[in-house]
Symmetry: C2
Subunit: 248 residues, 2 copies
DNA sequence: CTCATACCTGTCATATGTGACAGCTTATAA
DNA sequence: TTATAAGCTGTCACATATGACAGGTATGAG
């Protein structure tokens, strides 16, 4: 893919305002590169136990349904690769070697084959605050035929995936907005920050040169705003939502 | 850059075992693309207040020293871009428009010019657990001359940066090893996980069908292993170090 | 069999957190 | 002026956490 076309796609993603517009750009990009299907999925750690998901699927609906029913997300090796790494992974890497003995994973790939997803490449996307996502491009061509083709899209695909993710984050999402539509004051953030370092309210009061009662006051306000039940919860949520970030 | 050469570089990074080997690959890559200098910097949130840093510098040492002395890290717009975004940024974007009025930032870019860093591109790298890094390539050519050149390396540079980061993570680092060289048991992780959700020890005991005392026992063990002082600290540290991760 | 480890449970004293009571100053915008 | 928000402080009662005491079972490795 020449640079001009790549920047054209990036520009389209940067101006997209709805999920459908982004989906349209992905579809065109996917076809342009000679792939059959694409999918984008993002996991937002609003909670460690119940994270939020956003999916933009260009997959056959029947395969998606089957995948969800079978809970393949839990065993899909491309997913676990993308959770642990930041470099792309070729699907054939799994069908060939590593998983030869794992029947459930082999079943997954054989069934994908039946739906026309024979080979593909998955790009991990990692963003601030532990946000994890992935973007996959698939082809119905057999491994040997598609290998060179896929490898030639290695770099552009990763870059494109990043812009898709940024575009997705820009779209206002009602289901997530309510959880993040507030702000913590400077003091509230300061008190929480030192709390993540294991400081007690009294210790924080000494650091900030205010009374212990005031620290408690700020932390309680933060707990109410974050809609959580105690300090541990507040610490986890404030980090996840990006209200407190590492200092330089 | 053709695919063969790109995969050659990736392969070299995948087999590198020391910082110097990685640095050598970066130097070659940098020169191959026609750039003058490169730098890789990573911030590991072992603590939110005092994060750990790892730098692989191919910059002129004088400029590095000056940069550190002046604490430019705190105002460098390429750094803040890379902390907030996952897409590359061209340096000329700042020297031209946004920062026209900001004297300190202009000073930074003018001084960089003097050291031969006239234009460049910075790639953000975000990894699991909020780990943030960046990889920059710079040239002594003026903006107009270097623009097309830089844009043509947009995609490969991002991919290369990802592999550099993975390689850096693979190198055993004594300064960090001590902080992560232990493991939490299944129960310890479970107890911490529910603690991040704001559950009290008693509530966790109900969820796991064990006594409250046992939950306290596991959490205390985790606190000792993590070398932290209380639950809040343990929650923050366990998330940062990746001992507990979002469930599916 | 012994050792190490994970896992489990109890009591007690003290420290800290949490929620509700009540009230203050300062700055800024309507 | 009034209203609003941020920041600040105090006391009391009760809940929960923390640390130290002491003890148990089950499992696998050597």
């Amino acid at each position: 893919m020449d640079n001009y076309r790549l920047f054209e796609y990036i520009s389209q993603l940067n101006t997209a305002n709805t999920y459908n517009q982004i989906k349209q750009v992905c579809t065109t990009f996917c076809q342009h590169l000679g792939f059959d299907y694409f999918i984008y999925g993002s996991r937002i750690p609003t909670s460690l136990v119940n994270p939020s998901y956003i999916v933009l699927s260009g997959y056959p609906e029947e395969w998606r349904n089957h995948y969800v029913e079978q809970e393949y997300l839990l065993i899909d090796p491309t997913v676990s690769h993308c959770m642990e790494h930041i470099t792309p992974v070729l699907w054939e890497q799994f069908t060939k070697t590593t998983c030869k003995h794992d029947k459930t994973i082999n079943k997954l790939f054989y069934e994908a084959d039946d739906y026309g997803l024979c080979n593909g490449i998955s790009y991990p996307i990692h963003s601030i605050h532990g946000e994890a996502a992935m973007f996959s491009l698939t082809t119905s061509l057999a491994n040997k035929k598609s290998r060179a083709h896929i490898q030639s899209t290695f770099a552009v695909g990763q870059l494109f995936a990043s812009y898709v993710h940024e575009a997705m984050k820009r779209i206002p999402d009602n289901s997530l907005l309510a959880k993040t539509n507030f702000y913590l004051t400077k003091r509230e953030k300061e008190c929480l920050l030192w709390t993540t370092e294991g400081k007690t309210s009294w210790e924080v009061s000494q650091i900030l040169s205010i009374s212990e009662r005031t620290v408690v006051f700020h932390i309680n306000n933060a707990i109410k705003k974050l809609n959580v039940s105690n300090k541990q919860h507040a610490v986890a949520r404030a980090i996840s939502l990006g209200h407190i970030t590492p200092q330089f």
